[in-house]
């Protein structure tokens, strides 16, 4: 097949990726969009298999069969609550594959030297290889640490150590030196693999200090990196579809990263390198809560819900941990059946990855029109009779609006405190990631329902059934 035809086929594949992503702009067209993307991938693979340089198919077939089987098992068996872990893992695999592809291209250079199939050895080749390996290694190890943190196997707090920023900067400088060595010794693989080891350490150090609640930013950023590593590999191999597809993913991850940062009112630099310190002199938990917290029972909540016209449910990471989404669906059905309008207020950083809560609620068959973004739901809270918060804390803390000295000052929050009654389902009064008390819990219109999210919602459902009769 001539290279012209191959490139046309790659162009079609790249266009299918773009149409596929465009399809994701609405839940109705999204399934079709994803299929178009898959079709584009199939086309790119089939065309590549026809490449004249391929002399044996055994290794490729073995790899595809093994990888395909693992992929199918992961995709079918994964729990929806574990999606952040799976995405982190996939990001990592993409990164590692980029390291290997760029490394193999570098080895081929020395094998093919002087033959017709030789790749032009120039600074562009070396720099592209360097970029692909560097981004790939940071992505792979960063993703593994993120995976460990999401699984709770690695300390999911913000792990700090003395001179941590300086260590990373020095490491980055050494990596750049090895990048320079790659450019001046273009046919040696040694600087590349040394650089990979160093970049691996950098990847680990990069994610270790980032705490659990900042994971949406990290997962989105690593998603972007996995695409950019593939795009860099495209520069190594001079392959247009690798560049286009990798860049699309890179752009997607960056947009999500920016959205996540805005939703926390923090800069990316602050999330990645900043210290999230609790300001001294803020009110203590005792001052905020002392004698003002009212606890409630399932019976009382059921009575409130029975008379409510409009109810908003605000899910947080706690709902995912408690696997409460199906119990929430039952509550939703019961209330809707009783003539109550139920909506869901979803904060952009609720959960451990962008859109985490929406997927869990969709899994529980909540119609997507009822899932409202922060901007959509916020003007409505004054008309809402009862707001139920399940396992969310910092994203509903009114201090963000009222106290300019608070560590979360200026962070956009869900204005749940404007609704007539707020019911907070929570295990205890312990602070969220920001480490500050939440005056909402002591507000006049707030009632605390202490307990496990799933159990609490199930109890509400039971009492509400008796109430409605």
């Amino acid at each position: 097949m001539s290279s012209g035809l191959v490139n046309i086929a790659y162009l079609i594949a790249a266009s299918l990726f773009i149409f596929g992503l465009k399809g994701l702009s609405h839940p109705r067209t999204a399934v079709r969009g994803n299929q178009l993307g898959a079709l584009g991938m199939l086309l790119a693979i089939v065309i590549t298999l026809l490449d004249q340089n391929i002399i044996g198919y055994e290794i490729i077939i073995a790899g595809v069969v093994i990888g395909g089987a693992i992929g199918v098992i992961l995709a079918v068996r994964i729990q929806m609550t574990a999606m952040p872990e799976l995405v982190a893992l996939f990001n990592g695999f993409g990164g590692l594959a980029s390291i290997l592809v760029a490394g193999a291209a570098l080895l081929e250079v020395s094998v093919l030297k002087g033959t017709a199939g030789a790749i032009a050895l120039n600074a562009q080749f070396s720099i592209s290889t360097f970029a692909s390996g560097l981004i790939g290694a940071v992505t792979f190890w960063g993703s593994l640490v993120a995976f460990g943190k999401l699984q709770g196997k690695v300390n999911d707090g913000a792990v700090r150590y003395p001179f941590d920023q300086a260590v990373k900067i020095i490491l980055a400088i050494i990596i750049l030196i090895f990048g320079y060595l790659m450019v001046v010794n273009p046919d040696s693989s040694i600087p590349y693999w040394v650089m990979i080891v160093l970049a691996s350490v950098l990847g680990i150090l990069f994610v270790i200090p980032i705490g659990g609640a900042d994971m949406p930013v990290v997962v989105a950023l690593l998603n972007s990196f996995s695409g950019l590593a593939a795009a860099a590999a495209g520069f190594v191999l001079f392959n247009s579809v690798l560049i286009v597809a990798g860049t699309l993913v890179g752009a997607s991850g960056i947009i999500l990263t920016i959205i996540m940062c805005k939703a926390m009112n923090r800069s990316l630099t602050n999330v990645l390198f900043g210290t999230f310190t609790v300001t001294e002199g803020g009110p203590s938990a005792d001052e905020v809560y002392g004698g003002k917290v009212k606890s409630t029972s399932a019976e009382e909540v059921a009575m409130l819900l029975e008379g409510a016209k409009r109810v908003c449910i605000v899910p947080g990471y706690g709902m995912a941990v408690a696997q409460a989404q199906h119990a929430v669906r039952e509550l939703f059905d019961l209330l809707e059946g009783n003539g109550t309008t139920v909506e869901f207020g979803v904060h952009p950083v609720a959960g451990r990855m962008p859109g985490h809560m929406n997927v869990l609620l969709a899994e529980a068959d909540i119609p997507y029109e009822r899932l409202k973004d922060m901007d959509e739901i916020n003007p409505n809270f004054k008309q809402i009779d009862v707001t139920i918060i399940i396992g969310a804390n910092d994203v509903v803390n009114p201090v963000a609006r009222t106290d300019p000295d608070s560590p979360i000052a200026g962070m956009p929050i869900l204005d749940v405190d404007y609704s007539k009654t707020v019911i907070v389902i929570k295990r205890s009064l312990s602070p969220g990631f920001a480490g500050i008390p939440n005056p909402l819990f002591a507000a006049d219109n707030a009632l605390m329902f202490f307990g496990d999210g799933k159990k609490a919602v199930e109890d509400m459902v039971k009492c509400l059934k008796e109430e409605i009769g």
Binding site: A62, L100, L107, E108
Partner: protein, 93 residues
């Protein structure tokens, strides 16, 4: 136009298209967007296929093989799990 300028042009234009298209994805679909774009970044598979198939040395073929396995996990797993998620967003009526 020299070849580097050409591939760099492709890169920059693709970035613009990416920003335009993805800015329109609603927050509800951000998780499927991540897993779906993840599957697309499995495009590295074609680089892996070229290394594994050309078999210049056993080492490049070996690196290619591992890369094929990893990239196929991304492609197959990514598209399938995205499909599974998106089917849950379909209106049930």
């Amino acid at each position: 136009m020299d070849s580097f300028a050409m591939v760099f042009t492709i890169f920059v234009l693709a970035a613009f298209i990416g920003f335009e298209v993805i800015a329109k994805v609603p927050p509800t679909l951000h998780t499927p967007l991540m897993s779906g774009s993840n599957a697309i970044s499995g495009i590295i598979l074609i680089g892996a296929i070229l290394s594994a198939g050309a078999q210049h040395t056993w080492l490049t073929a070996g690196l290619g093989f591992v890369a094929v396995v990893l990239a196929t996990i991304n492609v197959v797993g990514g598209f399938m799990v995205t499909n599974r998620m998106l089917s849950m967003f379909r209106r049930k009526d």
